[in-house]
Symmetry: C2
Subunit: 254 residues, 2 copies
């Protein structure tokens, strides 16, 4: 048989947020490759299917493994959470293609999109991404803190809403605090800040606070942080947390 590689996103966590296209691609695969935590979310289809789980850190190794199997004629699904194109496996696979065996360019490679964490986080809160926004990974595994700081400053200069992926890990406990410190010099202290943990899953929690009071210690690896723009508003509600949305007309002089 002729090899095939499909890079899929499971969505944020709940099984009913995985698209039927992704479920079908998973069912049809002979081999599943991904971080153990994501593979554990793939149902057992009752077919003979090889599962190649691995630690989260070795993305490029995993990508090369997937390409090698596809080149051998297997039907490989590379499994990400959320959307595979947003700080997930798709870029690693294409990096492996670019730098790897030239014959890999002839493979049939498909990306199937999914509901990314930022969309699930926004949906839990209301519509904080309702205006123009920027999306950054705070991980400095692959880029310098200088680059991250430059981008945070630019995002603040443009009065974008800012969604932060990978805000904290055990290896990087201080970066989110530094990001908040930087943004406090650029944005008003009353700017809404959201900590959405495990959004779109049964463990979801949401904290609504302000830039002035935001405690970076609230974030872990499963948290997505959203920092509002001038157009981001809170709608107070009786006995429930406020709704948060960004006005479509944000950024205008008021």
């Amino acid at each position: 048989m002729s090899g095939r590689l499909t890079i899929v996103g499971l969505g944020p966590g709940d099984a009913d947020l995985t698209t039927p296209a992704v479920t079908e691609a998973l069912r049809a695969a002979t081999d599943l490759i991904g971080y153990d935590t994501y593979l554990a979310r793939v149902p057992d289809f009752g077919t003979e299917q090889h599962r190649h789980g691995s630690d989260n850190r070795y993305e490029l190794d995993r990508a090369r493994h997937a390409l090698t199997l596809a080149a051998e004629g297997r039907h490989v699904a590379v499994v990400s959470g959320g959307d595979p194109g947003v700080f997930a496996m798709a870029a690693a696979v294409f990096e492996a293609v670019e730098t790897g065996d030239p014959s890999w360019r002839d493979l049939d490679i498909t990306v199937l999109p999914g509901v990314s964490a930022m969309l699930a986080a926004a949906a839990e809160a209301g519509a904080p991404l309702g205006g123009d926004f920027c999306v950054l990974s705070l991980s400095d595994n692959l880029k310098s803190w200088e680059t991250i700081a430059k981008r945070l400053t630019a995002a603040a200069a443009g009065d974008f809403v800012i969604a932060l992926y990978n805000p904290a890990s055990k290896a990087r406990p201080h970066q989110l605090g530094e990001a908040f410190d930087l943004l406090r010099q650029e944005k008003p202290p009353e700017t809404p800040v959201l900590f959405a943990r495990a959004a779109g899953s049964k463990d979801a929690t949401l904290t609504v606070t302000t830039l002035g009071e935001a405690d970076a210690g609230l974030a872990d690896m499963r948290t997505l942080v959203i920092i509002g723009s001038k157009g981001t508003r809170l709608i107070p509600r009786e006995g429930r947390r406020p709704l948060v949305y960004t006005a479509r007309s944000e950024g205008e002089a008021r």
Copy 2:
């Protein structure tokens, strides 16, 4: 019965990119409200269901109509394409809640995320959103061109990949050209530019070009435009269009 309002995103076009959660919410609704084009994508569930179609322009009227019906005890689904929180109906509904009948704040309002157009467009191309990126609507219905220009400049200063929603319409034929002109002063002419039309649907087309050569006339209302960063690369392939991805390490000195 007690009223309920669910704001759902159908995804980019293909039925198999609509999440099961959204399909179930649509099935359970007594009333569907949305732009005619999106309502036409909702299957007939064989239940008694009222469809309130409308022109695309009257988002706030549509939001108020939905809230009024929910306050009467109906189960209303507000239908968007893509994700409802990204330049779609969710922000309009919350704006209507904030400025409308105070009792609307007590309603049970839920947002169900979907696969947004940018994710589908990126998936067609490879992984152009694999690094940090900004997302802007080029429509100046609700914000000034001055605000848009300020944000484009900031996005370029931060060397973000830029995804442009609503790049052109009959009422605004010149804006994308002006955006390209502005970005040509900030970014190199060889910067990759993608025109993804109807991504994630059976009509999908993708054009890969450069900022130096990009023709704004290629965009219409169904097009999403992606402009690369310094880290965005093309992988040439024999007899097929190149793959496009943004390296995860983008922005570093090379």
